[in-house]
């Protein structure tokens, strides 16, 4: 049976699907339909027929909805006018409020600005880091060849490759378009009276096609000419000043005896700031034969510093990789001690970021710590500033109760009040963002660039910068604004006007935020103190030898050593002179020792008999090398660590094979640091160097006479070799960079700690001040009734004492764990300073807290109660 009521109801449901119809409109339609049906029924039609006719004549609801919706849109223009007025009013209220309450506005805007400013510095850092070496046209197609070798169970990646590989790759793979080998070498360059030690790159002509450094003068294709040299702009200025040097001659001296004159054929434009791979001098790879006395390029034992390949399609790199198996076999036949596990390729886009895990590659990753810690610091800063904002917004809301109440009475609902406060907050963050950018560009970034010596910049033309800034502003604005906005919007009008609303004073969240801020401040101060402690500890640590009395210089050959020695021996302040192939902190080699049960990789230094005395290396067992070199050909001295690793009760007298020669252990020396304290001790062997291999001369001077000896040293060098620049110095300067870096870390952590503390104190200061302002009548009454210092202080401070106590109780261990973990990560050796850093920090933080609160108590004490009672 047809049910008319049901039919009408289901017809009406269709209207609800469209948001265009409100309840009244739908009711109107219903009445229309009912009228129509009634008329049709009175004409004698059946119910079903009448309904169907009425519905058909009514027409398509969808089209109607569309029409109705266009009416709605027209309506929004009227509403938008209202909104404009509304927002204008919000802005007016905001600005008046900011002017009226300069302190809270300052804390809010300044805090957020500092946080956003630091975010901008971090942005600049990350942006620079992720754009390093990514300006080459073919960047997506160029890859560095790497290989991995097993070392004591771990795979180690190397960025070097065997010299024959490049040519073979080019021949064997159709997908490889270009190949270029790179070998770096130390040379002496001479132009007229300018003579310098330099580092040059022997490379294939394809170098400049693959890494597209643009030239300022000259022609990149000239690199195929064996007599051409292409130089960087810096080098061009160093040797030739501002003039165009193309066509001029440069004399190159290699290894003392080999010489060749090159013609400058090109000068590169200044390299982009974000780069690591570059060059000073480029000469054709074939020059290696003549200048480095290399007979052929087919020796698999000879490694070049890099083999770069360019593929037609980056996707083809996988197929090249699978085809590398045969080279592995070729290589492993020759180098059994360094058996390659696999070859791999790293895109030059990723090389900088990956090179922390690649040994000896042409790039390096000096920014790993920054990439990890800087974003964390930025987030902490934003957190601190947002917490300040939230706390102050909640507490200061009590001063705006009447405004909120009034708005609600004249019709603002929760949503509108929320929108008002969020808008206010976004406007404040906008100010803070602009101020933050100004702070970043004028103070933070220049300071950081100066400190870290990195080529960072913030360009207003950088689109990404604005996107990042806007993103940070909106993020910060919402994070800091949402909670206060909802919190304030929630208030009930009646209770507001009754005056019975009490809030902001006992808000748990405010307390939690303040506690987190105190914990962060504690971490910051602890970081600064402990890094300072670490710096002074590292500075006082022993290197394991006597670096203070030693001087050294690099020499081209044995005759230089002999000539220098005979001259220097006349100086009575010199205690000892030594010649060596390797030298501490400068050069060493690696070797594989064959033990009965395993292979063992060690560092190897070839030295003479005087070396241990000269450098102050301490013998703890056995004997040193004797003067008679021939008899010591098969003797070896090992360090303590290796002695332990070998696991023998008395290693002296034992023999093992290294580089197919059998050696006998004759002595053990105390462990020493070849490299700075970032590196652990390494198992090391010393053997006697061939005189023809001497590359270093080291001198031990009498204590106090180092400076005079150094002057004499340089003077003698200058008379003997006027054409060769002196390359050496005090041994203790070898770690200059390391100590410099410690200093940078110390300064950086101190600066961060200062900002953490300032932000926290500002927040705390604002909170205490607002709290007291809200209770000024109460305090005035207390004073009138005779409250003394003790009672006032107790009343002001009581809510902060427990909180600070808990925060510090949590903060101290958190700080200790975080900062020690950070230091232990960087320095492998145990750190002798314990809890003193945390104790100092806690004490410092407490003093600041007391100071902030005490100034406010002082103000209350000094205030005139009759003034306080007048406050409404």
């Amino acid at each position: 049976m047809f049910n008319l009521e049901k039919a009408i109801k289901s017809w009406l449901k269709k209207f609800y699907k469209h948001s265009a119809f409100n309840h009244g409109a739908i009711r109107e339609m219903e009445l229309h339909l009912r009228d129509h049906i009634e008329d049709l029924l009175s004409e004698g039609k059946a119910e079903e027929e009448a309904f169907l006719t009425a519905v058909t004549e009514f027409g398509d609801i969808k089209i109607m909805a569309k029409e109705e919706y266009s009416n709605l849109k027209r309506k929004t223009t009227i509403r938008s006018i209202i909104y404009t007025h509304m927002f204008n009013n919000y802005f007016k209220t905001l600005f008046r409020g900011m002017v009226k309450r300069p302190l809270t506005s300052f804390i809010n805007v300044f805090g957020l600005a500092v946080a956003i400013g630091i975010c901008m510095v971090v942005y600049s850092f990350m942006n620079n880091d992720y754009s390093i070496d990514r300006f080459h046209t073919n960047k997506d197609h160029v890859f560095l060849t790497t290989f991995s070798v097993e070392s004591d169970g771990d795979l180690e990646n190397y960025g070097k490759s065997p010299i024959p590989l490049g040519e073979m790759l080019q021949k064997d793979f159709a997908s490889i378009e270009r190949v270029c080998r790179i070998k770096d070498g130390n040379v002496i360059m001479k132009v007229n009276d300018k003579v310098f030690n330099e580092r040059i790159r022997f490379t294939d002509p394809e170098f400049l096609d693959m890494l597209t450094f643009p030239l300022k003068w000259g022609d990149a294709s000239t690199l195929s000419d064996l007599n051409s040299i292409i130089i960087s702009e810096e080098v061009s200025i160093k040797y030739f000043g501002d003039e165009n040097p193309v066509g001029k001659n440069m004399l190159m001296k290699v290894d003392g005896s080999n010489k060749k004159t090159f013609k400058v054929a090109g000068v590169a434009k200044p390299f982009p700031k974000s780069h690591i791979i570059d060059f000073d001098f480029l000469v054709n790879f074939e020059n290696l034969k003549e200048l480095k006395s290399l007979n052929s390029f087919t020796d698999w034992k000879y490694l070049v510093d890099a083999t770069l390949i360019q593929v037609d399609d980056p996707a083809n790199i996988a197929s090249v990789k699978t085809g590398m198996e045969k080279y592995k076999l070729l290589q492993n036949q020759v180098e059994k001690d360094w058996a390659i596990v696999s070859f791999d390729f790293v895109s030059i886009n990723d090389l900088h970021l990956a090179s922390g895990d690649i040994v000896d590659d042409i790039s390096f990753d000096g920014t790993y710590e920054g990439r990890v810690t800087l974003p964390i610091i930025a987030i902490f800063m934003i957190m601190l500033a947002c917490f300040n904002y939230i706390n102050i917004a909640i507490v200061s809301a009590s001063r705006r109760l009447k405004e909120i109440g009034l708005r609600k009475v004249i019709g603002a609902n929760k949503k509108l009040v929320t929108i008002q406060f969020l808008t206010e907050n976004l406007v404040i963050t906008f100010f803070a963002g602009i101020l933050g950018l100004v702070l970043a560009m004028s103070i933070f970034l220049p300071w950081f660039v100066d400190l870290a010596d990195m080529p960072l910049e913030l360009s207003l033309l950088d689109q990404k910068l604005w996107i990042f800034l806007l993103g940070t502003m909106i993020f910060t604005g919402l994070i800091s604004g949402i909670y206060p906005a909802f919190y304030i919007a929630k208030f009930d009008v009646i209770t507001i006007f009754k005056g019975s609303v009490k809030f902001g004073k006992k808000n748990t969240l405010t307390k939690v935020f303040l506690a987190v801020q105190l914990i962060l401040a504690c971490v910051g101060i602890t970081g600064a103190v402990m890094f300072a402690q670490n710096s002074s500890y590292q500075a006082s640590r022993s290197w394991g030898y006597n670096q203070h009395d030693a001087l050294y210089a690099a020499i081209p050959d044995y005759s230089t050593y002999e000539q220098l020695t005979s001259l220097m021996n006349q100086n009575t302040d010199i205690l000892s002179i030594s010649g060596s192939e390797h030298h501490l902190a400068n050069s060493m080699s690696a070797a594989v020792i064959h033990l009965p049960d395993r292979q063992y990789k060690v560092k190897q230094l070839s030295v003479d008999a005087n070396y241990f005395y000269t450098m102050g290396l301490e013998l703890i067992a056995g004997r040193e090398f004797q003067k008679d070199f021939e008899s010591e050909k098969n003797s070896i001295i090992i360090n303590e660590m290796m002695a332990k690793d070998l696991g023998m009760s008395d290693p002296i007298g034992n023999s093992f094979k290294m580089n197919d020669i059998s050696y006998e252990i004759i002595g053990i020396i105390k462990d020493f640091h070849f490299n700075n304290f970032y590196y652990e001790h390494q198992p090391t062997v010393f053997n006697v160097a061939n005189k023809s291999d001497y590359q270093y001369i080291s001198i031990k001077a009498k204590e106090g006479s180092q400076k005079d000896v150094y002057m004499d040293f340089q003077k003698n060098w200058a008379t003997l070799y006027p054409e060769t620049p002196f390359k050496g110095g005090y041994q203790e300067d070898a770690w200059g960079e390391f100590y410099e870096e410690l200093g940078i870390m110390e300064k950086f952590t101190t600066a961060i700690a200062i900002i953490f503390v300032i932000l926290t104190c500002l927040g705390l200061y604002g909170l205490v001040k607002l709290n007291i302002a809200g209770r000024i009548r109460e305090f005035s009454i207390r004073k009138v009734l005779g409250a003394d210092l003790k009672s006032i202080a107790y009343n002001v401070a009581k809510q902060y004492v427990l909180l600070s106590f808990i925060a510090i109780l949590l903060g101290a261990p958190i700080s200790y764990l975080l900062i020690t973990a950070n230091i232990d990560l960087m320095f492998p050796d145990p750190r002798p300073f314990g809890y003193s850093g945390v104790i100092i920090s806690v004490f410092f933080l407490l003093s600041i807290l007391v100071l902030v609160i005490a100034t406010q108590i002082w103000k209350v004490l000094k205030s005139n109660p009759s003034e306080g009672l007048k406050v409404e």
């Binding site: 009244g24 009514f58 109607m64 029409e67």
Partner: protein
């Protein structure tokens, strides 16, 4: 049958014209139009309502719900003074169009 476009264009003066004679509600207005046109102006009933609502938003007509004990509640529309002015303007325009067309067709019959 009158074309769709012409129907749409004439809805506004027709509605205003009907309401000028006295306030009325949706169903009655439709019924009146159908009667007056003798069924030659045919469009779906539902399309009247968006037009009514638009006219109301433009301030040409006003509406109010009236509840009567004996009949259903109705939403009555009433023309405003602005609406009367608008109707006058519409009237002039339509008369002008009408005059032009009359003239044209009058001439045609003469030449024929």
């Amino acid at each position: 049958m009158i074309s769709k476009n012409l129907t749409a264009a004439s809805t506004k003066p027709i509605i205003l014209g009907i309401l000028k004679q006295g306030s009325s509600y949706g169903y009655l207005i439709i019924k009146k139009i159908k009667e007056l046109s003798g069924g030659s102006m045919k469009y779906s009933d539902g399309m009247l309502y968006p037009v009514l609502h638009r006219l109301e938003k433009e301030g040409l007509i006003e509406s109010k719900w009236t509840v009567n004990d004996e009949s259903r509640p109705r939403k009555y529309y009433e023309i405003t003074s602005e609406g009367k002015e608008a109707l006058l303007a519409e009237k002039t325009q339509w008369t002008q169009v009408n005059a032009v067309l009359n003239e044209l067709w009058g001439l045609e019959t003469k030449t024929n």
